[in-house]
């Protein structure tokens, strides 16, 4: 088993915003081992989301390289990046991002269908069972509470058993109690399924479920703390 699932090697990301250069990441290096729950913390604009996008093969570094499960994302074309994402990455967003016109089960099975996988509905049911939403398959997103919607989003993120789950402020739109439930669910994913989670968060309470806290400031790592959250 590899000891590193995702490696950032001197990664920089620069882009132009309204004609002005923005340095989102500056020569950042970070290794994340399999089965780790890592929290990325820092102020808005510190580079958390950019780091998640690089990790999920949605974006490429301006310099340096990102290795996901040993594959250098810079060496892959669009189809290769999509394949990598399909097989190894799941995403959870702050605003759930469910498709309003699909039922719960259809939302969950979507990554499998896009990848052309078999037994999509059955695996979607299993994933829903895992997030304790049995019986909700036929509902539409607007018939669910915020917490339920985020659980559906988590089921969708893990339905294809990815090695890496990227969560961008997953409890930002939830009340405290619901947020805690979601954090516990994410922890279960790490513990029971061995999935690695990289979670961008503002919330100091979130870190209680994490193994590692990476503090970012102005595109650089300011500090890395390790803790035992098991």
């Amino acid at each position: 088993m590899d000891t590193i699932l995702i490696r950032f090697e001197r990664v920089s990301k620069d882009y132009l915003a309204d004609g002005e250069p923005v340095h989102a990441l500056r020569e950042l290096s970070l290794d994340v081992a399999p089965g780790q729950f890592v929290a990325l913390m820092g102020r808005s604009g510190c580079g958390k989301s950019t780091l998640l996008n690089m990790a999920g093969a949605m974006d490429l570094p301006s310099s340096g390289r990102v290795l996901l499960d040993g594959q250098d994302t810079l060496h892959l074309d669009d189809a290769g990046l999509t394949k990598l994402r399909r097989e190894k990455v799941g995403f959870v967003f702050q605003s759930f991002q469910l498709l309003a016109n699909l039922t719960v089960a259809e939302n969950v099975e979507l990554p499998l269908l896009l990848a052309g996988g078999a037994s999509a509905r059955e695996r979607a049911r299993e994933a829903l069972g895992w997030v304790e939403l049995d019986g909700y398959e036929a509902r539409l997103p607007h018939q669910l509470s915020g917490g339920q919607m985020q659980r559906v989003a988590i089921a969708r993120a893990v339905v294809h058993a990815p090695k890496l789950l990227l969560a961008d402020e997953p409890i930002g739109n939830l009340d405290t109690a619901t947020g805690d439930l979601i954090l516990k669910l994410l922890r279960r994913i790490v513990t029971e399924r061995g999935t690695t989670i990289l979670m961008a968060t503002h919330s100091p309470e979130s870190v209680v479920v994490c193994d590692q806290i990476v503090r970012l400031r102005d595109g650089r790592i300011e500090a890395v703390e390790t803790r035992d959250a098991r």
């Binding site: 949605m58 999509t82 967003f93 991002q97 990554p111 896009l114 052309g116």
Partner: protein
Amino acid sequence: MLRLFARLILRPLKSEPARALLTAFAVALGVAVVLAIDLAGEAAAGSFRSSVETLTGDADLEITAVGGIPEAVYGQLATLPVALRLKVRLEDYATLSGGGPDKGAVVPLIGIDVVADALELGITSEAGPVPDKDSVWVSEGLGLKAGDSIALQIQDQPGTYRVGGVFKQKGKIIVADIGLAQRLVRRPGRLDRILVWVPPARTVDEWQQQLQQQMPAGVTVALQGARTQENRRMLEAFRWNLRVLSYIALVVGAFLIYNTISVSVVRRRSEIGILRALGATRGAILAAFLGEAAVFGVVGGAVGLLLGRVMAEGAVQLLGATVESLYVSSRPAAIEINAVSALLAFTIGISISVLSAWSPAREAAGVPPTEAMARGRSDYLARVHQRRDLLLAVVLAVLAFVASQQPPVAGKPFGGYAAALLLIGAGAMAIPAMVDGINRLSSRLLLRLGGVEAMLASRSLSASLRRTSVLVGALATAIAMMVSVGIMVGSFRQTVLIWMDNQLKADIYLRPAGTASADRFPTFDAALPDRIAALPEVRAVDRFRAYPISYNGLPATLAGGETQVVELGGGAQFMSGDRASIMRRLPTCRCVIISEPFANKHHLTTGDSVTLPFGRFEIIGVYYDYANERGYIIMDRRTLLKYLPDPAPSNLAVWVKPGVDLDQAKLAVERAAQGSNVAVFANRSLRVEAIKIFDRTFAITYALEAVAIIVAVMGIAGALLALVIDRKRELGLLRFLGATTGQVRKLILCEAGLLGLLANVAGFLLGLALSLILVFVINKQSFGWTIQFHWPVAVLTGALSLVYVATLLAGLYPAHIATRLNPIEVVHEE
């Protein structure tokens, strides 16, 4: 208010120029078609008064007679003890038979008294003020000069004539001295018109009555211009129907304006809420969105005027050909854009735009200030009242049926038009339920057949039900028009083919060479039929002679044929009564048979009688006829010769003896006709030519359909673009979830494909219903033809497939835009 308009409406429009331009262009095309048909119709209808009537001058009365006025009538008028000013005219046609681009063109040949009229027309001779009576004079348009020679075919005789001079006159026209003209057209001692200027002592009507009393039987005194009025009246139904057809593109455009404004309202719902919270009145919001539509109307209208002028050039060629085949000799006049037509088209463009925007603009005005914080899109999706709309659809369909049963008003099928409009309305109301139903039923099937992209496309269309329905409605309306006209024309074509099978029984047909027209009947040398009849290969010859006449203020054709010869092959099919007994009676009684269009136009039937200038004749049968729309009164040749003794026939039908080779017989006939310029057709090639003319006649309707389809497909492209922009978050999310760019492209193309499919289904069903109205109501009431219903399967399949492919192609650009979206940006924007 202007600032509000600029910020709320103009700025967003500028940010999506492609979509704004597509919408404006859709309006432009609609306006252009309306204007083009109006201008081209006017040019085609105006062409018979152009050159000939300029030569006529502004006389008070004109005297005419079927078969020509005896010259003695002129003498009688000239000796009346009143100061009448008189001019004589002989009017016929000549075919330019020399080389050059005009070869084969048919131009008016006018016989005048050159000595009397030369100065007035500006005709001079090289030799001096008195023109040479053996020359012809040509208008400037023919590009010749005095002393040149011109090759002409007059009747069936080719010849070369010296150009005595050139006179100032628009168009192409040839003038000869009346004596020469009478010789050339073989009407010695006959005049076609005597123009009369009356003294002011009495009114023109009184003079008309007085002169009429002094005329011999068969000679008519009418107000000058009556013939032009008759022609215009005859063309009225044709022009009306074309005009109605031209409005379809605007109706399709109306759907698209509705959609564009609806999208604007939905996108800016929260902005509207904020503006309302900040004190904007409902009226201001309503005006702003109506203003947006007006912008499309003004821009589209202005471009449409320019485009319409260009399109009119093409349309007038097509229209001219149709008018010539079905109605009257026509030379397209110059297209003149007049202020009334332009203003009308422009106003219609703006009005349709603003009216289409009324409903979404009212919705915008109804947005409460509390929506400042609300999400917009879901409201748009939800506001479809399927059940209510479906009920309304049923009501409209019932009203359409009731309207279709109404008789014509002033000869126009207003009930039919109303029925068609109501049906389109019913279709628009039923479409949401149809779209939703089909999508619900087919979602899982689509997943199996087209993969997840097809399923997502179906769900997306279902979720945006109102928008989808409007798009399907727009394209379905255009398709329905295509299907209905396709079925009508296909049915008509098949009916004509069957009719030709029954009607064209002879083996060989002859007519003087040159372009045929519905009111031009050039004649043969009277000896030619006898030469042909004497050929050993020939069994019998039918000598057919036709005259253009006026019947109850409408142009018609009076003709005589040899009944017994025609009976050799069977011939005409009658609407009622026994054909054999009708044809047995025809040569022996003072009676006629009439064609169906003539019967319908004049409300006549078997047992009634027709009053001709030389007496009353009983109608003993009404026969099916599709040759032209003027309508025929047919009598036996012997009866006709009693009243119009000119024996020269205008058409010959030749029956070949059994066992004789047809090609050999045709060669023999051609040899017998040597010296005359005659077109000889074997039965089969005559049918081919007839069908060619038929297809040419309907070319304009195909062109109109094409424009409506283009407008609709442009609308689909614009709407899909809007859909991509509105759903960019979803499309970006799919990339996060593992979709390739290819899958995103396929998703948008699937949406285009589904829209096309739904529109094809709806359009086909609506088109089928509309075709029944076209065939059995509008056509029957306008033109008086009975058409047998027929499915033109190949044409419909081809046309529907073409539209489907066009719809898919319309999805290409939006699909390209969808693949270019940056998923990170669009997902994080939310």
